[in-house]
Symmetry: C2
Subunit: 353 residues, 2 copies
DNA sequence: CCGTGGCACTCATCATGCACGAGTGCCAGC
DNA sequence: GCTGGCACTCGTGCATGATGAGTGCCACGG
């Protein structure tokens, strides 16, 4: 065991070589040999020396060799060290930022669904990997307005507006018809009571009133309460979904050439559960977060990395977006792209108000 | 050239053998040899005789051999003949129908989106292939009711109800605020004019009135007309989408083992254009339709078959559903499944009214 | 004339062997 | 501590040959 290996600290030279190795491997996905490194590292160093350093790095777990006489490949630990301390993030060119801004601000800002879809497409298009954006979801939305529109027979179209502009509608089936006047009064009553209150509060009061004055509540009110309950549930589920684009880009990476792996991965994308768990974790942190290979904790993502950033409306984090690609992705480009896209999406959503 | 080959008509025996061959090939995907057929056909016939018949069938284009000494494989023409004249459709077991009915009627019939998604899932689950369901779309929906709800500032939430229960909403940005009273009057006016009319008619009259009485139309009306126009457009686009499930099932078929093919196919699924064109064609025909291999006209679907059936509400075809799988799919099972699922989906949508 | 057994032939598949080249580990020398 | 040299390892590509499934054709017999 060499001195360097025993010592936890990586020498300047070892770091430089590790960095060259990771960059090279990210570029073309081939195990990197000693000769290549000795030429490309920029340092005046012979292949034999490089080999010695590599032996140390391997012992410390930063690199690995697929077999005896192949070059070296970064391990997860190697990528992690690279990302944490060696990486120089490339600031995006002003023109690139401009492109992003254009796509995200001009677009149908009116329709959030479309905005999210194009954001996801955008991420996948410029990174050539898979882009993902969770649906925005406020923790505790506030009641703004309810309206009842009589339809034929005993059906009533119920519209509930939340926050500034989120609209939910449902059709209630009642056991008898109500007059338009009566419906208007009911809506007025509810609005007077609840406008501006948080849904949590509304729910609590509804339940209380339901108990206290059950006798005085007629079917209409009961149904309305029911509807509100359903809206609560729907609102809570809203965060439980995402838009993904460019999954097929992942098929191009050699790491995923086995059809069986690919199938599991795509199944997981459709299943959504695991991916959502992972993205949820990122909603807490402030800025860009990176999961390399097994770090994610989901073995479907074993040799994939995920780069995420939360996005906010009114300084409140409402969702997460990110990029999924092979561990050997160009972190220096992807990180700022994800970062800026999250900020621009937040801005676009804010401007809609 | 033998007599049988010159003659356009297939002998009883040739048909029987072709049928045995197709059935066998559908079961295990391997080219079928003469010995196998002579044993399995049920006829008392030697392999050599089978070979003679095969030579005829090959000359007529019903079967093909991948190379000199492999067995025979059905061609598109072979499948077509099989499906058209040899196939005995398996009636579904009552229990299977029951399962289908349960899933489709119990479910959240209230929310059509969910209903469609579960139909698609159902199709893919029982066929182990990809299921697809287009969004329902009426040719010429009728105006039922419009309502304007004032929001803050100059924004007005506009709700348009079509047919019995389809609800569209949009937020209009106006150049000044209007009173709730004024908005109610405007809505009343529009409803009095248009309720029950078809959207086409409404559009024509709006355009005419817009021209004739431009002076008298205020901003509010202009915006409402604008909104209606947008709803028309959205309504026309509604048919331009579908829900797909179980695409990953297709990865299991050897025919698609090349990653490049697979990628093109999945890209086409995401792109939706070609698939929609194909499905649109099926909206005309009455019952189940089958496209085998190149018959679809889209070379992404070259060795895939598509089995579709339209589904109806109020005896009007509003959408199409189907299954996409390898040409060697079990047509005898898939055809009745698609058929019945279409009928049950129509029934489920009808019952929601 | 049709069905049949037999025989030569074809072709994909698989295992084997071999040469090549990239790259490593180690050692001795500067 | 760095370097060149050397033996060694291992994946890749290629040619080879055996195997087996299956065909096409032909001659024979009912």
């Amino acid at each position: 065991m060499s001195a360097a290996a025993a010592d936890k600290h990586l020498s300047e030279r070892a770091q430089h070589l590790l960095r060259a190795l990771v960059e090279r491997y990210i570029r073309d996905g081939q195990p990197v040999g000693s000769r290549m490194l000795s030429r490309e590292s920029g340092m005046d160093i012979s292949p034999a020396t490089v080999r010695n350093v590599m032996a140390d790095l391997e012992e410390m777990g930063f690199v690995d060799s697929p077999h005896t006489s192949a070059g070296r490949v970064p391990t997860v630990k190697g990528y992690r060290f690279f990302v944490d301390t060696l990486l120089e993030v490339q600031p995006l060119a002003e023109t690139e930022i401009e492109t992003l801004r254009d796509t995200l601000s001009i677009g149908d800002a009116d329709n959030p669904q479309i905005l999210l879809t194009s954001t996801s497409n955008l991420l996948s298009a410029i990174t050539r990997m898979a882009g993902v954006v969770t649906l925005p979801h406020r923790d505790n939305p506030s009641w703004r307005q309810i309206e009842f529109l009589p339809l034929s027979d005993n059906r009533v179209l119920t519209i509930l507006v939340l926050n500034q502009r989120e609209v939910q509608n449902r059709i209630l089936h009642l056991d008898r018809a109500y007059s338009a006047d009566f419906l208007r009064q009911a809506a007025n009553y509810l609005n007077a009571q609840f406008t501006g209150r948080s849904l949590k509060e509304v729910r609590a009061r509804l339940i209380r009133e339901l108990r206290e004055t059950r006798a005085s509540l007629n079917d209409m009110m009961l149904a309305a309460v029911n509807m509100a309950e359903k809206v609560f549930a729907a609102e809570e589920d809203a965060g439980k979904n995402y838009v993904m684009a460019g999954e097929t880009n992942l098929m191009d990476f050699a790491e995923l050439s086995e059809i069986e792996r690919l199938r599991k991965l795509f199944d997981a994308f459709n299943e959504k559960r695991d991916i959502l768990h992972l993205l949820d974790q990122c909603a807490g942190a402030e800025g860009v977060q990176i999961f390399i290979g097994e770090e994610s904790g989901y073995n479907i993502l074993d040799d994939l990395s995920v780069v995420t950033a939360p996005y906010s409306v009114d300084d409140q984090i409402v969702g997460v977006l990110g990029v999924i690609g092979p561990t050997r992705m160009a972190y220096d480009r992807v990180i700022p792209i994800v970062d800026i896209t999250a900020k621009l999406l937040g801005a676009a959503l804010n401007s809609r108000k």
